[in-house]
Amino acid sequence: MRPTIDKTLLIVLLITFLTSIFLIFNWVPQIKASNEAEQIAQKIFYFHVPSAWLGFMSFFVVFVASVAYLATRQRRWELISVASAEIGVLFITLVLITGPIWAKPVWGIWWTWDARLTSSLILWLIYVAFLMLRRYLPDGSKRANLSAVVGIIGFIDVPIVYYSIRWWETQHPNAVMASGEGSLAGPMFFTFMFSLATFTILYAYILRKRYQLLELEDTLNKQFKEMEIL
């Protein structure tokens, strides 16, 4: 059963991935920009924003899994929360890498203490701390409890982090999606949605794989122990 799901996911992922690459680089019309570098850089949009959204979603999953863990004390919720946190950090890292790459040609600087940038960084730090905490604690129920608690508090903080920054004048484009599809014309909108879908499948796939890996580790440990005793 499992391998079939994984295989299907992988195939779908490959197809959508290749398609979105095609859409982004060959199909969607170029934006008008003052120079070529900017034009090319704009392509990053289709990686940058979906990464950010999926990052948020990963952290939401961490939150849900943490609550579920404390409610049920089932190991699998712990594993899901870890896996999702790792992927979330990965995605936000992507945002933090693609952002500056985009910023350099557009704004002329790599980094500025802009609201969105700062809050992204803080978000990243919150979940890196979450992962660090797990590394410092020995495996066991204590670790599961503590990290679930941090997983919950961490997520509650996320909206606040984003709220707090509204007090800053911001250089970063704001809510393109919300402020009007007008700015995101047909093909661009389609490409963006397609890219988003690709990232979502990517997320699902990595999450499954990572979870399976963690489970495997558990079984392996158990077997080791059995062997050691006998």
Binding site: V128, A129, L133, K142, L146, V149, I153, I160, Y163, W167
Partner: protein, 223 residues
Amino acid sequence: MRTAFSILQKDLRMEFRSKESILAMWIFSLLIFVIFNFTFEVSRLVMLEIAPGLLWVAFIFSGMFGLNHSFAVEKEDGNLRSMALMPVDGGQIYLGKFLSVTIIMLMFEFLIFPIFIIFYDLQLSFQMFLLIPVILAGTIGFTSLGTILSAVAVHTRNQQILLSLLLWPLVSPIIIWSVNLTGMVLGGGEIGAVFFPLLIRVAAFDVIFFTIAYMLFDFILED
């Protein structure tokens, strides 16, 4: 409530075992400022601009000190474990620890503040009373999160560094707002329309943080 109060009483008693503790705290506060001052040898104008930030950085560092100390004491002879054995509500323990940490941090702030006024030659005005709720709200936000995260970090070998890693990012919005609010008050101008809504927002988040931490603390104590 009696439980929380007993914990508070014990903590304050240990903290102020000797009268010198208060003196030490006072000198420590003074030093934080002195060190900032001589390190930033800048024009008075610049100084004034960064003053609210400096004030809060000083608060944060004294707060970190208080948090670390408060939980190091619990760790010393396995007392953290003995807390887990007591037939009391985790929330009560949280409340007790929260109160003691908050009181100590407020005390630091109370000691720091006059030094701050003197060093920056700020004129006292009626408006400054507005700083009381600002400092209170910011401090409670810091300690409500700090207390539970200290209880988490104390289980690791690298307690201090981990507390910083966990707490600072999470508490940063509260600190940003507090710095903003402090700036508004110290700016001397009219208190704009944004002041009170922002203050209320900080207070609201204090309540949220506190409530969540209160509810989650039980999970930290048990294994």
